[in-house]
Symmetry: C2
Subunit: 367 residues, 2 copies
């Protein structure tokens, strides 16, 4: 069996599994997608042996990939650009409930977050009050102009990193955001190779708050700060504060402190990353990817005939419904940035009619 | 010459200056103020020798203290509770322009922030983009019920710590906030000794954003996170990110990193604090207080006759006008928390008429 993994940009990651489930990681350039596929990837996908695809190309192409090329395949895919695209993917996945269709948020598979979730469920921090996330790092932009520069194509800190954090927080707390407030800024609008009439529209500083839990109750306050104007450093910190203690994941390590104790304790160390170092992918995402690939392998190896897959190893993965929720929150944060107000998160339950205005006009003429 | 320093609560801090400027630190309990003064403090203030007072009592009494007891004295005072009180203090201070009247935000005197300000002015970080502040620590509440539990009396993280941060950020960036957005939460509403019909109304989690600089331009985005549900830890971090580098003060130490370099460098170390340790006052505030007292001493010692004072050593101290601005921002954040919207910061230029409604009613009757 073959599963193709299409990963964005410069990620050089190639591996064969001795257990006869072949995982092909195909290097696609930022702007090329399966909608205009490279010959080898297309050939792979056409093979009856190929049972699945991992779409990790530019967000603007994700929905195309999943809807056109992957009919009848198991799919692990990156986030789409808009909630409407996500909704189409959810609808498509419902036709094939027996096939695997998960979103590729690798953070959920990182051992530190798996352990954090376990401790949260066990009540280590008591009642969850505040989640505080900060991700600081160098610019997310490509050297030359591409989708990363364009907000509408899925570029920017909120879309690339923020969506993974939104998904992670709903996984950790077990609840969803009902109201959000956000602020986006593009401090760097032109660069060495991106100048002239071209301007960067994707955000490099993003701050948003989410009120999670049941509407009306105090619930959980989440604050997320993303700053990608800090070359030479990488900070990835997720803290959950509760009534009786707190847990924090710094990079790939989990620390905890109960209210009575005087010092923070290391709950889960690094264990040393033996895999490759990838400059473009920070360690928490890379280690998470590695764990996700292992989980996928287990999931498919569980069945002797390898035509089907096991739910167990990938049960923590986000579904397409989760992807739609994440995309809805991302759009709510963008709306809040324009309006300056808190925005309610309302997940789409039916596809908006693109011809609604036209229909209404026709209706009026008819009367 | 004698200067009385009235400091809140449990601060035991007593010192005599060999240079014949006596600094008396008088321990006042949380609820007792100079408006109802303890006999020894009153006697000290009445002495013609006593040329000044430092009012550090509960915020609700600050305006009373400054307006009633300190006529004709040099005054260093804590923040008042409301912008109206601050405005009265500004007006009172204008009667005595030759007397010293400064707000007691000790952070401005902390060597790390003095050095940070110097580097910011010299252009270490280029154009300032983002300020990110977080203060995490144990509860600010007293054991028993008192002003710290009551938002209207000046309790809560926003009022106690947030106001010092607001002042500090305007000092560091040299600009003022024009729009703010905030979120306040009181997670702990009752405690061991505070229960029954009594509820805590002061915030223990506070998050606010300030847009600073000239209105209309991108300006500086400031995000401030205060969380006082974290017993056993104290984090005090002020980070300024600019176009060519960043500076961060962690506790009392200053670190910096320019965009080209690979590692953060320590720009100003701790030098070891030889003074007393005060459980109720975190080190940055305590060291700042120590520096402020030194600056005050220098300021008064500069003149031979010690009846006057020198502007130089205390030139970085916040004026009462700065105090009014800070109080205005605090109230704007509170309004934003209720309305959920961005609130413009408009500093009062004349005292609101407390009888306005009455006057309007009379006017209507007359017509």
């Amino acid at each position: 069996m073959i599963i193709c993994l299409f990963l964005p940009g410069k990620l050089k990651f190639y591996r064969k599994n001795p257990g006869r489930v072949y995982l092909y990681f195909i290097k696609t350039s930022g702007g090329v997608s399966l909608a205009f596929p490279l010959p080898p990837s297309q050939r792979l996908l056409m093979l009856p042996l190929c049972k699945g695809a991992v779409a990790g190309c530019a967000p603007i192409f994700v929905a195309d990939v999943d809807l056109t090329s992957c009919i009848g395949k198991n799919v692990v895919c990156e986030k789409a650009t808009t909630a409407v695209d996500s909704f189409k993917m959810v609808a498509a996945a419902r036709y094939y409930p027996q096939l695997l269709s998960i979103m590729g948020n690798t953070l959920r598979f990182l051992p530190a977050f798996v352990a954090m979730r376990k401790l949260l469920v066990e009540g280590y921090v008591g009642e969850i009050q505040v989640c505080d996330v900060r991700v600081y790092g160098p610019s997310l932009l490509d050297q030359s102009y591409g989708w990363t520069c364009e907000e509408l194509m899925g570029g920017g800190g909120l879309h690339i990193v923020g969506s993974a954090i939104i998904d992670l927080l709903s996984y950790l707390t077990g609840t969803r955001a009902h109201r959000v407030h956000g602020l986006l800024r593009t401090f760097v609008q032109q660069k060495n190779l991106i100048r002239g009439i071209r301007r960067i529209t994707s955000d490099d500083f993003c701050f948003f708050q989410m009120l999670m839990g049941v509407n009306g109750s105090a619930g959980v306050c989440c604050t997320v700060t993303l700053n990608f104007n800090m070359p030479g450093s990488f900070v990835h910190e997720v803290m959950v504060v509760g009534s009786t203690g707190r847990l924090v994941v710094r990079g790939t390590q989990l620390y905890g402190q109960r209210n009575g104790s005087k010092e923070e304790e290391l709950l889960l160390g690094d264990n040393g990353w033996a895999g490759p170092e990838v400059k473009e992918m920070p360690l928490p995402y890379l280690q998470g990817l590695s764990s996700m690939v292992k989980a996928l392998r287990q999931s498919f190896q569980a069945h002797e005939e390898r035509r089907s897959w096991e739910w167990g190893p990938v049960c923590s993965a986000p579904t397409f419904e989760d992807g739609l929720y994440v995309q809805t929150v991302v759009e709510a944060v963008k709306r809040s940035n324009s309006s300056g107000e808190w925005v309610c998160v309302e997940v789409m339950s039916q596809e908006p009619d693109p011809n609604q205005n036209l229909c209404e006009a026709l209706q009026r003429n008819k009367n």
